[in-house]
Amino acid sequence: MDAVLERILAPEPSHANATEALNFTIWNHTPLVLIDEQNPHKPVVLDLFGDNHNSSASSSPAPGRTCDAQGCKVAMRLCSLNGTVCTFRNFTSATQAVMEWYVLQATNIFSQVPRQELVAMSYPGEQLILACLFGAEPCSHRNFTSIFHPDYGNCHIFNWGMTEKALPSSNPGAEFGLKLILDIGQEDYVPFLTSTAGARLLLHEQRSYPFIKEEGIYAMSGTETSIGVLVDRLERKGEPYSRCTKNGSDVPIPNLYSDHNTTYSIQACIHSCFQDHMIRNCSCGHYLYPLPRGEKYCNNQDFPDWAYCYSDLRINVAQRETCINLCKESCNDTQYKMTISMAEWPSEASEDWILHVLSQERDQSTNITLSRKGIVKLNIYFQEFNYRTIEESAANNIVWLLSNLGGQFGFWMGGSVLCLIEFGEIIIDFVWITVIKLVAFSKSLQRRRAQAHYASPPPTVAELVEAHTNFGFQPDVISHSPTTGTYPDEQPVPIPGTPPPNYDSLRLQPLDVVESDNEGDAI
């Protein structure tokens, strides 16, 4: 069903007759069309199978066949609501159109196949990995953990550290690294799904999910690819300093990649977020991303609108931005900086025996079954200087803050914390005194009111005079007040602190007492 499409796009329209016996169900769902834009105001839409099959679109059959690349655009027709609302997704190149269309249909088909069958259909580890050497120790496909990737099928992870401890490699240099020979079996490729041939590999942290489509690199067949690695580790402090998350528990999006028990990463979050949007908008999950509980993958039978919905969502920038804003980076981030170099492998002189040995090892046959186009050699090793940690540390801590505050305060005022306490004390005193004064003032007010009420007897004067006369210290007071300067001279043994306050207090206290007793005028 794929070859048809190709034949139609390719020059000879006469071949269309030969392909009568095609199943048009997939084609009808989302057809590729040609749009003739020679008249820009009234574009003519041509169905590729227009003359064979009556499609719902306005198919003007005969003249369209003459249209070439200059005038025509290939587009994909995406319809929803039973074909009432349609959009045309334009492509400038037929290649892209074919690839996009094929990928769309492939996801539709694969999503209906159970996972076990897909795993069985993909490359098993023993077929892919022909030879493996880690340092000086031999290893085999049993040292690899298999994981199924919707795009790439079976992927094999070395030293994932899920069940066993991670292997250390402290020595730099190609000798101590991982050496692999892979068989990619180029003859068995699906022609439309991918046009590149090679292996895809990704270096990632232990226990993290490999997002090989986003971050992976190619390794070419027929070459030896050497990858020198430099590990760049970044550790961040977290919340008050930078916006990052330790394990993803504070991100509002459930991590769909957690069934492998992998650690949180921003890619996982963004993909989960997309799948979340997909389920909300299209009510089915996209095949490329893992499925939340109780949801189904999209396919044409159950969800006829999904292709329209998906392509709408995919180019929606607002959706992506909400995802970016929702997701947080993880605080510990490891980057692998790679220096890639390539050389031809196997060399012409060694090609014969290497291929012979490898094919014999693989299927015990004496004739060469492998070809130069199908094998990849990989060397992955640490560079000389192999590990670098960048750690975040707070620029200003509490010690810094305090010392700076102290410095500023001291610089401008010569003050300290004790100064502040002193100030506080004075304020407390001030408040205390005002309270006392206020209380006294209100008391006196009350008394005055009371006086105003009684207002009759003025015997206080006599009493006052009596009280004054009663005290024998009166002459002292008189002599004392005008000549304070000469006062110390009079005292032969001057203990200056004690006597005058005594007198003062004596003088003041009786006065107070007297006045309060006599309901005095003022304090």
């Binding site: 070439d68 290649t95 590149t196 180019i315 001057p494």
Partner: protein
């Protein structure tokens, strides 16, 4: 002045130091607590009430403990280093991507211009190395260059002759054109370094460049004939192309539709209209994607190859110039929108029949300018005129500097760089000796004799894309058939024949992830930091503040200066008085003048406050009588006064 007098008096009074400030330890402590600048102690003594005093003791002790603790922490943190690199995860601007074919012009179009040169090159190859045209290449069959060769006199070889040297007899060279040996004067400059030991016995090929009067010549030799022929060809090629107008050159080069077969960005189709033309002198037509057309910069909000730029390039190997370029492919430069793409210097080469995937990481660096480092913000303060229409960078500055010097010295501009105002490119007709001049200048430039390197400064901020390049075979064997036929259909009219896979290259450029690293320089000490550090130091060593400093300034500068000034003034006055009345009796004036300040002090002492505080009469009357007793008495009295002073406000 009054304060000066007072201080003088005080100093005079306190100068005879007779021992510690107090007779007993307890008194000394008391005295210290009252007079010290640190506040806690004073509070302890001054406070009334046992609870208060206890609290103050507690506070003071806590403060002392805190100081010790904090200082210890500071000392520890002094020895740690902190690096600040910020990482943002956000939508990133996609950089501008410039794509050039390595071959600048279609050979079929340039051929007419270069016909003579090509013939002579072939002739030279034949005589030097016995190389003749491979007949398998059909398109060059038509030429029978050897016959033409005989007829016309070669002009290029005459102008700059290729020479073959015999090792050992350096003075002589064989001009292969005439076959005769001729003397070569002038210095021989080797392109290869002298340290390298090139083939001993073999012939060395080079060419001779002479200045106007041919008295001053330099000979450039190469260890390999390949280099020699290519350099020689390039010289003449530049000379020829310099005379061609820009429009013609653009027409001779590749159009966007020819170079770019398909284009896909961020899941959406794009085509040649999304690329802007940029003509590079050595690389012909280059096309820049995302070059701020319509004032918008495309951005990526997803990492991964799917969401980046995917281009299939058509590299027509048949149109390649055989002598100018010897490799096949395209060059890609990833740069900022306002940056000039230096195609020849930076740039990743792309192979044909391969998919090249380039993953990017963005790093942004900001440096602090003038007081901290030598960098420049926008190049406006660099005395070199920017002849490129692009943002300043160190490379632009160096190239501009060289080009300006070239115009100054040689009178014409070098071909591979833009033209400064009021200058034109070098060619033989107008500037017969430009090559010699250029080579001389270039050598001076490399040896940093032109001063460009010292004048140019680096830019303060730059964006850098770290690239991870990997290759894969493309198209795969099984997809090759359909892919090529569909691509041919796509190209339609432009290409008559079927595309070959060695004519195509696939390029993927994408952000690996959306993490942006920005490395920023921050001033380690701001002004607040400086002040607070000052404060800290002053407080630490002197318990002193800005008030303290003002005090010091007042006392030691204003007051003492005024005192000195007054003394001088009085001296001058005396001297004047002496001069006025020389016959007067000599004794009275001088003691009077000396006595006067003392008298002043004496006058000053019994002001009412001091009189209240200290009775001067007994002290002066009985100076020799038991001093300790009196001292204590006096001190005690002072305390009592102070105490009463503080008491009064407390009472209120």
């Amino acid at each position: 002045m009054a304060p000066g007098e007072k201080i003088k008096a005080k100093i005079k009074k306190n100068l005879p130091v007779t021992g510690p400030q107090a007779p007993t330890i307890k008194e000394l402590m008391r005295w210290y607590c009252l007079n010290t600048n640190t506040h806690g102690c004073r509070r302890i003594v001054v406070s009334r009430g046992r609870l208060r005093r206890l609290l103050w003791i507690l506070f003071t002790l806590t403060a002392v403990a805190l100081i010790f603790w904090q200082c210890a922490l500071l000392v520890i943190s002094f020895y740690t280093v902190s690096v600040s690199i910020k990482i943002h995860f956000q939508k990133l601007d996609f950089p501008a991507v410039t794509i050039c074919n390595i071959n600048p012009y279609k050979y079929s179009a340039v051929r007419d211009l270069l016909a003579d040169l090509e013939q002579e090159t072939r002739g030279a190859l034949k005589t030097l190395y016995g190389f003749s045209e491979i007949k398998s290449r059909k398109r060059r069959d038509a030429e029978s260059w050897s016959s033409v060769w005989e007829g016309t006199r070669p002009k290029f070889l005459n102008l700059v002759p290729l020479l073959a040297f015999k090792e050992g007899e350096m003075g002589k060279a064989r001009d292969f054109l005439t076959g005769r040996k001729r003397k070569v004067s002038g210095s021989i400059i080797r392109k290869e370094s002298d340290v390298m030991n090139v083939h001993e016995s073999k012939e060395v090929v080079g060419f001779q460049l002479c200045s106007n009067d041919t008295s001053n010549c330099a000979v450039y030799t190469f260890s390999s004939g390949v280099n020699a022929i290519q350099e020689w060809y390039k010289l003449h090629y530049m000379n020829i192309m310099a005379q061609v107008s820009l429009e013609k050159k653009i027409n001779m080069s590749y159009s966007a539709e020819e170079l770019l077969v398909t284009c896909f960005f961020d899941g959406v189709s794009c085509d040649a209209r999304n690329f802007t033309l940029f003509h590079h002198p050595m690389y012909g037509n280059c096309y820049t994607f995302n070059n701020r057309q319509n004032e918008t910069i495309l951005s990526t909000s997803m990492g991964g190859s799917e969401y980046g730029l995917q281009v299939i390039l058509h590299i027509n190997e048949e149109e390649y110039n055989p002598f100018l370029v010897s490799s096949t492919g395209a060059k890609v430069i990833i740069h900022r929108q306002d940056e000039y793409p230096f195609v020849e210097d930076v740039g990743t080469e792309i192979e044909t029949a391969m998919a090249t995937s380039i993953g990017m990481h963005l790093t942004e660096s900001f440096k602090l300018s003038e007081p901290y480092s030598q960098c420049t913000e926008d190049g406006s303060d660099v005395p070199v005129e920017n002849i490129y229409k692009a943002a300043y960078s160190l490379k632009i500055c160096l190239h501009s500097c060289f080009q300006t010097k070239m115009v100054e010295k040689c009178g014409c501009a070098q071909y591979s760089q833009p033209l400064p105002p009021a200058a034109n490119y070098c060619n033989y007709q107008q500037h017969p000796n430009w090559m010699y001049c250029y080579y001389q200048l270039h050598q001076a430039f490399v040896r940093e004799e032109l001063g460009c390197q010292s004048v140019c400064r680096e830019a303060c901020s730059f964006k850098e894309w770290t690239l991870t390049t990997s290759l894969a075979q493309w198209p795969s064997e099984v997809s090759e058939k359909w892919l090529l036929s569909v691509l041919t259909w796509d190209q339609g009219l432009q290409i008559k024949k079927k595309l070959n896979k060695t004519d195509l290259a696939k390029l993927l450029i994408f952000y690996k992830d959306l993490n942006q690293r920005s490395i920023m320089e921050n001033p380690a000490n701001s002004i607040e930091m400086l002040l607070s550090n000052f404060g800290g130091q002053l407080g630490l060593w002197m318990s002193c503040s800005i008030v303290c400093i003002i005090e010091i300034v007042e006392v030691f500068f204003i007051d003492s200066l005024s005192i000195i000034a007054r003394q001088q003034w009085q001296k001058a006055k005396q001297w004047w008085a002496q001069r006025q009345a020389p016959p007067c009796p000599e004794a009275p004036p001088s003691p009077q003048g000396q006595d006067n300040p003392v008298l002043d002090i004496d006058d000053d002492l019994p002001t009412f406050t001091s009189a209240l505080h200290l009775p001067p009469a007994p002290g002066t009357q009985v100076p020799g009588t038991p001093p300790p007793k009196y001292n204590t008495l006096r001190l005690e009295r002072a305390f009592s006064n102070q105490l009463t002073d503080t008491q009064v406000p407390a009472e209120f």
